[in-house]
Amino acid sequence: MRKKVNLDSVYAPSEDVVAREVQGEFIIIPIASGIGDLEDEIFSLNETGRAIWDKLDGKASLRQIVKDLSSNFEGSSEDIEKDVTGLVEGLLKRRMVIEKRRV
């Protein structure tokens, strides 16, 4: 089922992932199965993906995050909003982030 992303929601990394920068790459390893498995799929975010991840702190809403990123990155607010919601949707689908609350 497709998870709907809400701009007025606050998201945070799930307890079921471990995320670290390793050899210049930001790596996310799911551990929901009880195993952090490098032999299976692991995930990587580029620099701008990491910028979004870092802001998913369980405090700021997505709307606030989009606003913050719009002042630091090139591109229209609409495009940034689309990219942020797209990424968060992908992360939600894989249970890497959770919705904490709505503001």
Binding site: R20, E41, G49, V84
Partner: protein, 170 residues
């Protein structure tokens, strides 16, 4: 000032190219174990052959308050090289553990408890679980390894392993 282009990407990686000597990789390893999850990765090298071979998938788990035991295979940070290594505990001297690769000439020296981060709970080779070297025979392996008489015995052990793991003729 020109602002950076916004282009987030989310990639799915299928191969691990991590260096076992990278402190960030070791930190990632510890972080997974600290969350009470196991860590599965590909073995590199031949120092534990024939019990763990290059390319085998190793699963390492947290000790859960039961510390390293004699003869079990553990993942630890080498006190001198600071590299992540998977070898066998062959003896214990007070608060230090004497650890050695089954196929290595030289031991890893005295390793403090805090450097040992997890125990190997599973080894898989070509999708099949490897049991030899993890059952009661591990005590003999540890004893012979500590007495430095294991290496001459490895040739017949390899033949034995090959016979055990050989597919039966149909």
């Amino acid at each position: 000032m020109r602002r950076e282009e916004f282009n987030p990407t989310f990639l799915i990686k299928k191969e691990d190219v991590f260096s076992f000597s990278d402190p960030a990789f070791i930190e990632l390893f510890k972080a997974v174990l600290n969350k009470k999850a196991a860590f599965r990765f590909k073995a590199k090298g031949f120092s534990m052959s024939p019990f763990i071979k290059d390319g085998d998938a190793i699963t390492v788990a947290n000790f859960f308050d039961v510390g390293p035991k004699w003869a079990e295979i553990v993942a630890f940070i080498h006190p001198e090289t600071e590299k992540l290594i998977v070898h066998r505990v062959v003896a214990r001297r007070k608060e230090f553990y004497i650890i050695k690769g089954d196929n290595a000439c030289k031991g890893d020296g005295f390793v403090p408890r805090e450097n040992i981060i997890g125990r190997v709970t599973k080894v898989e080779r070509k999708g099949k679980r490897v049991f030899f070297g993890f059952g009661p025979e591990r005590f003999l392996i540890a004893m012979f390894s500590h007495k430095k008489v294991l290496l001459p015995l490895l040739f017949p052990i390899r033949i034995l392993v090959r016979l055990i793991t050989k597919k039966p003729a149909i």
